[in-house]
Symmetry: C2
Subunit: 502 residues, 2 copies
């Protein structure tokens, strides 16, 4: 017994060390993205390499192997330790199956591939990036072989970002979604009742946007003693530890929506991490459980709170105080319709909430084919353009507004994209259950105090960190598995009303 | 031969790892001081502890011991490796001599002592801090016993911050300095020609102070691609790596001098580190060679450039552009005399450049007595006050403006204070030699392009990093050992002129 306690304690101390290195890395990454001086970054990369190698070494060491073997066959471990061991074993197995030299080659290729992608995007020339992407795909295919798979090679990649997610589930829900969204997008295109949007593009100073964003974040319950807001080109949220969850945003003085909805989106991510149970500190379980559940929280805040008319009943007058006179003659109703304008576009990150899932489905279909071997990299740009025509009714005029827009494939994150749309479906499903339990949902937004909403999310989702798997959380919270119907009816109702469709 | 090259290479790789951990720690410390959210700091301390323990372990490991033994008896090493080995051995010996459990106790005591000091300062009550300070002194005395000493126990402490500095040298130069400064301060007190200073305290907005400081930093050659300026309560410079040397400042809207001279001071530290030879990256030698030489660079910039009338010939009109109307009726001469006002005061960090060294000497005398055993902690406040009366002619009214003002003793940095005054003497001596070689010194300031001055400092001092010891640098640069005469004549000339002494 004494022996067992000792091993459990030693293992948890060992994991704490990995967590400490991860936290140091998170500070360094935040710093790099928010203003580290250019001339120091080459040396900083060496530091990152050194720390990352240490983390890799610690999680694949013989010592870790012994911990896993010993503790797997031990009774009476705490529930948390059991989950930690399970995660450690997954990580250990995953990393041990790749020959060390191939992993190293892959890491080097990864950074070359990112540079090539950046150059290709700048020059609008896919051919610069193509040979690197080919190698990234071929390494990833090889890794999938090492890891093995059930039913479909792509399942193994999905599982990295969304445990237990499968092609079978995605084909079903994405199919249902597409079947209803595509006609809805077409009906909107034919509507005679389009929103006025010119006021969206009037000058709104950066300082005022920032002040308004800070005000909104405060109201939404983002804890500024456990976070901060900075400016970056590519906004993000990062949980350095649960008492230090930072967000960033960007300001376009000719379109305030990026900063405002971006801040609300990142706030959703951050509130998730700020409210993970304190007991999980140092266990590696004190982060969001999957990319999809994480995105469900950011999209819940961005769309189901931030794009809700009741939210703006309270906030629109506040916005007007921070803005100059551009909204003086714009009614709440017109403002609401303006910020919810929907139309097909080329760039995923700028897409509206209705067409966004279609952008994801394009990528999902292409990734699936790449890893079932029915599509090759050289044929990707063409396949991309065809899918955009099929799903969104538009064809990119060049690769920069087509296949070159995302970094994900350049850095090897195959299997990541579906999480964005999954998160959206999770959010709609969660919203449906929440509204049954909190029938005054809209009234909280009207009052500008969302404490009951946040507390509900804390209770059902946030506190657990990574101790529950995504589909477990969904089942426990909503009483059913993934169901696309909730997102579909949300979109159909909202957009039928905005565009006055029959 | 192959074997030797392998050992040398392996040793340098090993040191690179220590350097990487130090760099990660430097990023974390900068972040903590510039705005890390409060709720994350407890967990961050664990990370710091983990990384610091790793550095300690690496520098005292058996592997390090073997490197030192093997390479000390090896011929044909590069000059840099030889110096690295010497530093590694010093560090190894120093750390190995302290029993591990005592070092751990000391580290824990250190943080308790800092907290007690903060509370004592807030409550203006030395007795809260006294028992901790007693223990800090008693541990340090014990450590000096472990380390051993030559001639005087305090020499061992001095050597930590200023290699090869001794009580013998300090007694001589501080004696010479005091003998001439004390009467000068008294003559100034009796002068009828005191500067007008009311314009110093007029409102100057933070934004304008910041803009002016950035302008000055640019002109002085601080490289913003290898650094950045932030705001903190206690300003500092930190060389995270030689391509990332950051500075901070603070803004008092009723006294612009803190921000302006503070920025110039930190700029001096930063320009030192930004210009260390690139080849020294990853060797642990890419930092300033001692606290004293570091301070010589910051004080060179602050006093010999920033408080020079020729500097303001160019910069005063610039300052006026950034200020509102408060300087409209103040002549350059009056401005210069105002910013150089000198009078005895209680707080070291706010002291003028003439009385500053006296503050240091008070602390030096007390530290020396503490470690020769002729003074005990309980008698310190009284001894402090007597020395202030003796050197500066004023007696602190309470401990907050007396013995409680500095953090140095609370965190165990005994032996550090003399570096401040040493740096000042080094700077004056360096300035003397420089002026012989660059007779147009003042003209460079008048023109606002100090490139020749900076290049001279790069050549003689900066590039070497820690490869040369402080007194080696001084000897090589000025052709003689430490000589207080240069600082004395600088101060006598300047203040006789400002206060029109006969």
């Amino acid at each position: 017994m004494a022996e067992q306690i000792n091993v459990e304690t030693a293992y948890r101390e060992y994991v704490k060390k990995i967590a400490a290195y991860n936290e140091a890395l998170a500070v360094i990454f935040w710093d790099l993205r928010t203003g580290a001086p250019a001339k120091g970054t080459a040396q900083r990369s060496e530091v990152i390499g050194m720390l990352a190698a240490e983390v890799f070494q610690l999680s694949t060491s013989e010592e870790m192997g012994r911990f896993i073997t010993l503790l797997t066959s031990t009774d009476g471990l705490s529930a948390t330790t059991k989950i930690m061991i399970e995660k450690s074993r997954e990580e250990y197995d995953r990393n041990k199956k790749i020959p060390a030299h191939e992993y190293k080659e892959f890491v080097i290729l990864q950074s070359k591939s990112e540079s090539a992608w950046m150059e290709a995007r700048e020059k609008n020339d896919f051919s610069i990036y193509e040979p690197y992407l080919e190698q990234m795909v071929s390494y990833t295919r090889k890794f999938v072989d090492y890891w093995g798979y059930t039913d479909h090679p792509y399942n193994t990649l999905l599982d990295k970002y969304e445990p237990d997610m499968t092609v079978e589930i995605l084909d079903r829900v994405f199919g249902e979604l597409r079947e209803r969204i595509v006609p809805l997008v077409q009906r909107i295109a034919q509507s005679n009742h389009k929103p006025e949007t010119s006021f969206l593009y009037t000058h709104f100073s950066k300082e005022d946007q920032e002040a308004f964003s800070l005000n909104i974040l405060q109201q939404l319950g983002y804890d500024f003693e456990a976070g901060r807001l900075d400016e970056t080109v590519h906004p993000f949220a990062t949980g350095i530890n649960r008492g230090d969850v930072r967000i960033t945003t960007r300001y376009d003085e000719n379109d305030f929506r990026g900063a405002v909805f971006g801040s609300i989106h990142e706030c959703g991510h951050a509130i998730y991490e700020q409210n993970i149970s304190k007991e999980l500190t140092g266990t590696l379980l004190d982060t969001g459980t999957s990319m999809g559940i994480h995105e469900s929280q950011s999209l819940f805040f961005e769309n189901f709170i931030g794009r809700n008319i009741h939210f703006w009943e309270k906030q629109y007058p506040v916005l007007k105080e921070y803005a100059s006179e551009q909204f003086a003659d714009v009614s709440l109703e017109d403002f609401y319709r303006g910020i919810n304008e929907s139309k097909p576009s080329f760039i995923r990150v700028d897409a509206d909430e209705l067409t966004y899932p279609l952008h994801i489905m394009v990528r999902y279909e292409l990734e699936k084919e790449l890893f079932s071997g029915t599509l090759e990299v050289k044929d990707l740009p063409d396949a991309w353009n065809k899918k955009y025509q099929e799903y969104l009714g538009i064809t990119p005029r060049n690769d920069a507004e087509g296949i070159l827009q995302d970094i994900h494939w350049a850095d090897g994150s195959f299997g990541y994209f579906p999480s964005y749309a999954l998160g959206y479906m999770y959010a709609a499903q969660i919203k449906h259950t929440m509204t049954e339990e909190l029938p005054n949902f809209d009234a909280y937004l009207q009052k500008g105090d969302i404490t009951p909403i946040r507390t509900w999310l804390n209770t059902h989702i946030h506190q657990y960190g990574s101790t529950k798997k995504p589909l477990e959380i969904l089942q426990a919270t909503t009483g059913e598995g993934l169901n696309a119907a909730y997102l579909i009816s949300y979109l159909e109702e909202k957009y039928s009303q905005i565009y006055q469709l029959d």
